[in-house]
């Protein structure tokens, strides 16, 4: 890997971490699931900036995970309202906030098979702030309609649903989710990305003004904390990501 490519990837990861950590400001308990290095970094950064007031449960970590009742505890916790924010991704995410973690091109013998739905079908309904993240922002990942709904973006009135999508953070931009209308609205674009870049790269329709602000960069203090203390914490659970992003 060449040096410029690596630093570009680092810059993109840091802008996504910056966008996500601002959504976690002031929360009591943030949980992070499997295969989520960028959200995990954002959660650990939010904790560091909160002076430890934000609790983080990083699944897959020995050190930053206080659960003692087995794999089931996260889910019991979520259903009781003890988790304020969680992160989900998808092989496909559609304009209604539906996510697909199962596969493309038919079911069960999918043409492309993904690992599976994990806890999404449940946590999406129960955790108040679900932040969707997907670094690859292309028409094949952000689609009009997912091939398989692992977890639905919204529910009919009358269904018990304290949780749902709050935002979608990609390698290009930040979308907010409009719960009432059940669709996304473009909020900010990352440095160097235009609204037309986002439109061209997105397979679903969304509300987008002609001009949006740039995704704010991390403060100097936050960036320093991220690259030192937080990067070392991230390396415990995501060594390859930490090495690639910060050389630690």
């Amino acid at each position: 890997m060449s040096a410029p490519a690596a630093s570009e990837a680092t810059a993109r990861a840091e802008v996504m971490i910056g966008a996500i950590h601002r959504m976690l400001d002031g929360l009591g308990h943030v949980a992070v699931g499997a295969a989520s290095p960028i959200p995990g970094s954002a959660a650990l950064l939010a904790r560091a900036l909160s002076g430890g007031r934000t609790r983080v449960s990083l699944l897959g970590s020995r050190r930053h995970n206080a659960f003692t009742d087995g794999g089931q505890e996260l889910f019991d916790c979520a259903a009781q309202g003890r988790i304020d924010a969680f992160f989900l991704s998808g092989g496909e995410i559609d304009g209604r906030g539906n996510i697909n973690l199962v596969g493309l091109g038919g079911y069960p013998a999918s043409r492309v098979r993904f690992p599976g739905s994990f806890g999404s079908a449940y946590l999406y309904h129960l955790v108040p702030r679900i932040i969707l993240f997907r670094e690859e922002h292309t028409p094949r990942t952000l689609v009009e309609r997912v091939d398989f709904i692992s977890a639905a973006g919204s529910s009919p009135a009358g269904e018990y649903r304290p949780g749902g999508p709050q935002a979608l953070v990609t390698g290009l931009c930040v979308f907010a989710f409009d719960k009432a209308r059940g669709c996304f609205r473009l909020e900010t674009t990352h440095p160097g990305i235009s609204v037309s870049d986002v439109r061209a790269a997105t397979g679903f329709n969304y509300d987008g003004p002609e001009r949006v602000p740039e995704t704010p960069p991390l403060s100097r203090e936050a960036l320093k904390l991220l690259r030192s203390e937080v990067a070392a914490q991230v390396a415990e659970t995501y060594p390859a990501f930490a090495a690639r992003t910060w050389g630690c």
């Binding site: 087995g70 794999g71 089931q72 259903a79 599976g116 739905s117 449940y122 639905a152 269904e159």
Partner: protein, 275 residues
């Protein structure tokens, strides 16, 4: 004590898992009984129904590649950062195995129902997911405790024939210490039989010490124990030894084809006959 579960060789332990059994397996972050799965493959079982608690990984892929599996129920099947399990993907696409896609808490709820001896547990969420369309065994009812309409999903009890996992230690009476890995406790409570491999058998009574006892599965749930040093290699065992990422990556690359899988298993698994 006469009530202690039998200590078996790995091969005898594997032989106690019959063809066609439903077999509950832990996730990669818990106690993966890799040495026991190797022994199981040596006896060429057929028609197993795997249950990933709540996900399947390398154990499942080895068994699928060995032709031992008819179906798998799991919330996901994955080799984590090493990508999709190649034999699972191939078998699914060729229609050689049946996948019952689930979601993590549904697997836990099914086992918890079995643990309580009740036919089902209700669970929030899931409504609107395509999982429901493909799981005719999951039901939606109107919450009978509510005055207003409140649809809720019922998950039927999952009672595995056998739970199989690896743990750090057993004591002389067959009590098995699992520490904080309490999904292993849930598996043992729910299954008809529980086969465990351990790093060592300690001449002690874990139940006599409150600190130990709180993380210990009592022998009453344990059907058989075999000693397997480094029995979770190459997945690793938290608190004891790390994953061997080079070995897992080597497997993931080799097993893209059936012949590659056969060679890799012959060299790394079947060849490594334990003493």
């Amino acid at each position: 004590m006469s009530a202690a579960p039998p200590r078996l060789s790995l091969d005898r332990l594997a032989a106690s898992i019959p063809d066609g059994a439903s077999l509950a397996l832990p996730p990669s972050y818990s106690g993966c009984a890799m040495a026991a799965v190797a022994a199981l493959i040596r006896r060429e079982p057929r028609g197993l129904h795997l249950i990933g608690v709540p996900t399947g990984g390398l154990m499942a892929d080895w068994l699928i590649g060995a032709g031992a599996v008819a179906s798998i129920e799991a919330a996901a099947v994955t080799l984590d950062e090493h990508g999709m399990p190649p034999r699972f993907v191939d078998a699914l696409q060729a229609g050689r195995i049946r996948m019952k896609d689930a979601t993590c808490p549904a697997i836990h709820a099914g086992l918890q129902a079995a643990e309580k001896g009740v036919p089902f547990l209700p669970l929030r969420g899931i409504l609107g997911s395509d999982l429901l369309k493909h799981r005719s065994d999951w039901r939606v009812i109107d919450n009978p405790m509510s005055r207003s309409p409140d649809p809720i999903v019922l998950i039927p009890a999952i009672r595995p024939d056998v739970a199989l996992f690896h743990a750090r230690a057993a004591d002389r009476d067959g009590n098995v210490w699992i520490g904080v890995r309490r999904e292993l406790m849930l598996m043992a409570h729910a299954a008809r039989a529980t086969c465990v491999t351990v790093e060592e058998i300690v001449d002690a009574d874990f139940l006599a010490d409150d600190d130990r006892a709180s993380g210990t599965i009592p022998a009453l749930y344990i059907s058989a124990i075999a000693v397997a040093q480094r029995g979770a290699d190459p997945i690793g065992l938290a608190g004891a030894y790390d994953p061997n990422h080079a070995a897992i990556a080597g497997y993931a690359a080799a097993a893209r084809t059936q012949s590659g899988f056969d060679r890799w298993i012959a060299e790394h698994v079947l060849g490594a006959v334990p003493a």
